[in-house]
């Protein structure tokens, strides 16, 4: 990272309301250069300025060889890139040409509740053939996105990127700047996918353990260990291959709306810095992203600049964003490889010095298996076979100080969970095994499951949750590559509020794999009362994942400021991935009055009940808001 703003990204400076087909295509998407007749029929556009006209409608698409109708914004999937400027007030007139009610939610934007775009909470939705005028001041910068918040319209294509220019220029200037929006397209009607999951939740899993695999494991690990392993899973009636509910069997993974064969391509000249703004706009997919041959310098997540950290690979959950900078040194093509977490498919594109070049596409990683640790169980004799010996190659000694970074700035309020040593859980633990040990020592005794979890619609509870942020997650542990974890992310500029949270709300992420029911604290949306935040208070939300799935949890309207295991500010996000059986906390400043959505960003989990309303109101009823008020509360 060398000099300052003037050499900012080589972006066309566009006038207000300009609708630039050609230049836009260069910036956002270069299209499908070769052999991809069905990949992409529309050039992607960039809209800039402060007034925007967006039209939600339907258009024919053909991503797989079959013609289907997608839900589009201005005729495109993804919708046009909206480029805003920090400090501007933007006006967006959104017209709905669909037969059904629609909506657009500006994901990650801090804005008034009636501009948030969640029908039923923020507004009444955009009726068929009606329109809605969104207007708000943009007080933040970075990479965000927008999507429908109506039924399955996001799955069928209603999503697009937002890039907000930082006032005064990027903190990390680059010569090139591309959005890389990942998504999961399906030819199947999402209503059918949802119904199928309700009837046969394993339907899309074609990576189950077979009888042959049992015998292979017997040869490898011996009879007793293999039987013990199968017994363990059999007793729980769980499947260690359940990683994603909807797999590559149903999905074609897209990069900027282009299929892997279509090969979206971004151009660079050797020696240039290229900023890639990764956005996971998928409905149900976690992607593991890497570019073989290039180090990825992560400089922002969820629009928030972080201290640059260099990695080989990162996992991006649905709705998360990561900005990475790469510096290709060679005059050759590089593959941007984004494999689905269950390894059932991938999105792919290319960084290339000239159009039409391709690099080798790496093979998909082996199918990962969940371990007993992922189930929140101790790794006793039974699970030993499934735990790989720890590999210290990923241990980053350079990070060790980070746990202490904020010591000077904030009070040392210790948390009730008994994690007293600020260094133990963070700096000294490597990727995985140590996390478990920490959990055994501390988390177990303090864990309390709410009484509402005594529901038949919940299939497990973590007994010993994993604390700490340094587990890269299932399928990425010890893979020989340096994989990003939340422990690597440190937001530049500290928290938005240094007050110690005055109370804690603990929420458990719950569900039932077989019945395909998802919930918080064992209660579906329809069964739960809204969470109440007092206006102005700083509170802590602790999430305990009582399920074997990873959930990206998104709080609308307010930032989620993730804390490390000792309660120090780590990273500010709008969407927080919680690994199976993980316990994780973040602080929230409830400074956004109104009604907000709070949910798992896996679309079918949300629809199945993993959703809560959050109500932020001035603390008139029983107890003032603000610092010092309130006690720890389970809700």
């Amino acid at each position: 990272m060398s000099s300052m703003p003037s050499s900012r990204a080589r972006l066309p400076q566009l006038s207000r309301r300009s609708f630039l087909q050609a230049a836009g295509a260069g910036l956002f998407v270069l299209g499908a250069p070769r052999g991809a007749g069905w990949a992409q029929s529309h050039a992607q556009t960039v809209l800039t300025g402060s007034h925007f006209d967006l039209q939600i409608g339907e258009a024919p698409f053909n991503f797989t060889g079959n013609k289907r109708v997608g839900t589009v914004v201005n005729g495109q999937i993804p919708g046009p890139l909206l480029r805003w400027r920090e400090g501007d007030t933007v006006t967006l007139r959104v017209a709905n040409r669909l037969a059904a009610r629609s909506s657009i939610h500006w994901h990650g934007m801090i804005l008034p509740a009636d501009m948030d775009g969640v029908p039923g909470l923020s507004f009444e939705g955009i009726p068929s053939l009606g329109e809605y005028l969104y207007r708000f001041k943009v007080n933040q910068a970075g990479t965000y996105w927008y999507h429908a918040h109506s039924r399955f319209q996001e799955q069928t294509g209603l999503y697009g990127p937002i890039v907000i220019e930082r006032r005064g220029g990027e903190r990390f200037p680059t010569e090139r700047d591309y959005v890389v929006m990942l998504s999961d397209w399906t030819d199947i009607d999402p209503e059918r996918i949802f119904a199928v999951l309700k009837k046969h939740s394993d339907y899309y899993n074609f990576r189950r353990r077979t009888v042959g695999e049992f015998f292979a494991d017997v040869r490898k690990n011996g009879w007793s260990e293999t039987v013990a392993d199968r017994r363990m899973w059999g007793e729980m009636r769980m499947n260690p291959t359940d990683m994603l509910d909807v797999s590559g069997y149903a999905y074609t993974y897209l990069m900027n709306g282009v299929t892997p064969t279509g090969n979206w391509t971004g151009l660079f000249s050797r020696g240039e810095k290229v900023r890639l703004r990764f956005i996971n706009g998928s409905s149900m997919t976690f992607f593991d992203v890497r570019i073989p041959g290039l180090k990825l310098t992560v400089v922002a997540t969820d629009g928030q600049d972080v201290e640059p950290v260099s990695v080989d690979e990162f996992r991006i959950g649905a709705a998360e964003t990561y900005d990475v900078i790469v510096e290709p040194k060679d005059d050759r093509a590089y593959t941007i490889f984004a494999q689905a977490m269950d390894r059932s498919g991938y999105a792919r594109g290319t960084l290339s010095p000239s159009p039409g070049l391709e690099a080798e596409i790496p093979p998909l990683d082996p199918r990962p298996l969940l371990t007993m640790g992922d189930m929140g169980m101790s790794h006793g004799a039974h699970a030993a076979g499934s735990m790989k010996p720890m590999d210290h190659s990923q241990m980053d000694h350079g990070q060790m100080n980070h746990g202490q970074r904020n010591h000077g700035q904030r009070s040392h309020g210790q948390r009730s969970s008994g994690e007293t040593d600020p260094h133990a859980a963070h700096g000294s633990s490597a990727q995985r095994g140590a996390v478990d040990h920490a959990a055994m020592g501390h988390g177990a005794s303090a864990l309390h499951h709410p009484s509402t979890e005594r529901t038949p619609l919940q299939d497990m509870q973590a007994e010993q949750p994993n604390i700490g942020l340094n587990d890269p997650g299932v399928g990425l542990r010890n893979n020989g590559r340096r994989v990003l974890t939340y422990a690597d992310l440190h937001t530049i500029g500290g928290p938005i509020d240094r007050r110690e949270p005055a109370r804690e709300i603990e929420l458990h992420l719950t569900g039932h794999m077989e019945r395909f029911v998802w919930s918080f604290n064992g209660q579906k949306f329809s069964e739960a009362k809204p969470l109440k935040f007092r206006l102005g208070e700083r509170l802590r939300i602790t999430l305990v994942n009582d399920s074997m799935m990873t959930h990206p949890i998104h709080l609308h309207g307010m930032w989620s400021e993730i804390e490390d295991a000792s309660g120090h500010f780590q990273v500010r996000k709008h969407t927080v991935n919680v690994n199976p059986a993980q316990k994780l906390s973040y602080a929230v400043t409830a400074d956004a009055p109104g009604r907000w959505a709070y949910h798992c960003h896996l679309l079918y989990h949300m629809e199945a009940g993993m959703f809560r309303e959050v109500h932020v109101e001035s603390g008139d009823e029983g107890g003032a808001g603000g610092p010092g008020a309130g006690h720890g509360a389970h809700s």
Partner: protein, 286 residues
């Protein structure tokens, strides 16, 4: 080193941005309070604290509405019912009596807690039908189990019987799908039925499904060829290929045996108490 310089410059930039933003926001008094709180920290405020601007309250506040209306508006209804039709067996059997058509199907409709369930099984030989139909209410009671209650009707050559049915259905440890039902009929008749099945994945699409089924009766019913006590057992092995998950042709073998008085009645009619049949069929659901 250069990072520090960059941060300082960035600070200067965002400070001016925050100042501009602050002016507009101060009109809302709640936020004025909030800002005042921050201001009390003076110069120690973090870069992020200075840059963050809380949103003004919404101008439009949603009217009160019923849960149903809200669910409809959100396009999100986690109480919605679903339905499924499953023909686990729809098959040809090479029975001693000649070609036989056998079936075992169910239809359910309902939500996560309660379902209406229609089950039917039976066979047809030489245009003679024999089998049962049950209409049950299924209510989930624990992680893996639900209770079922309703009526059952047996039909066939002999007089048909109607029963009140009650039982449990669920997923036992190690993935055994289990059903156990008790029946009470007219004239003090009772019966019990137990079945368990398992699925073994030979490949991702080739599935071996063993199934065992046991029946018992509390009272003789000679007209229907049934004696009291443990009456018959059936063991089946079906190998299916899931062309699609919901469309799977299969072949299999069915071994059945009658016991006690039921066996005697069969032998008296000139039939064997044991029988082995080859089957071929189609498993479909939608």
């Amino acid at each position: 080193m250069s990072a520090r310089i960059r941060v300082h410059m960035a600070l200067a930039l965002t400070m001016s941005a925050a100042a501009a933003g602050a002016q507009e926001e101060h009109q809302h008094h709640e936020h004025a309070q909030h800002q005042a709180h921050h201001a009390s920290h003076g110069d120690q405020r973090t870069e992020s604290e200075r840059a963050h601007v809380p949103p003004p309250p919404p101008k439009y506040v949603m009217r009160d509405m019923s849960e149903e209306e809200m669910a409809e508006m959100m396009g999100m209804d986690d109480t919605a019912p679903f339905g499924m039709v499953l023909f686990d067996q729809f098959e040809w059997r090479d029975a001693d009596a000649g070609d036989t058509l056998g079936w075992d199907g169910r239809l359910w409709y309902g939500n996560d807690y309660d379902k209406a369930l229609l089950k039917t099984e039976g066979e047809r030989t030489d245009s003679e039908y024999e089998g049962s139909a049950e209409l049950l209410w299924d209510h989930v009671i624990s992680r893996w189990w639900s209770v079922q209650a309703g009526v059952a009707h047996d039909f066939g050559e002999g007089p048909s019987r109607t029963w009140a049915a009650f039982g449990v259905q669920g997923l036992a440890p190690y993935w055994f799908e289990v059903e156990a039902l008790m029946y009470a009929g007219e004239e003090g008749r009772t019966a019990a039925n137990f079945s368990a099945e398992y699925e073994m994945f030979l490949t991702q699409r080739l599935v071996l499904q063993p199934k065992v089924e046991l029946s018992a009766y509390g009272k003789d019913d000679a007209a229907n060829g049934v004696g009291s006590g443990f009456s018959d057992a059936e063991l089946a092995l079906r190998l299916r290929y899931e062309i699609r998950r919901e469309f799977a042709p299969y072949i299999g073998v069915l071994w059945s045996r009658k016991f006690g008085e039921t066996a005697d009645l069969a032998r008296a009619e000139g039939n064997d108490a044991d029988d082995v049949q080859f089957v071929a069929g189609l498993r479909v659901w939608f």
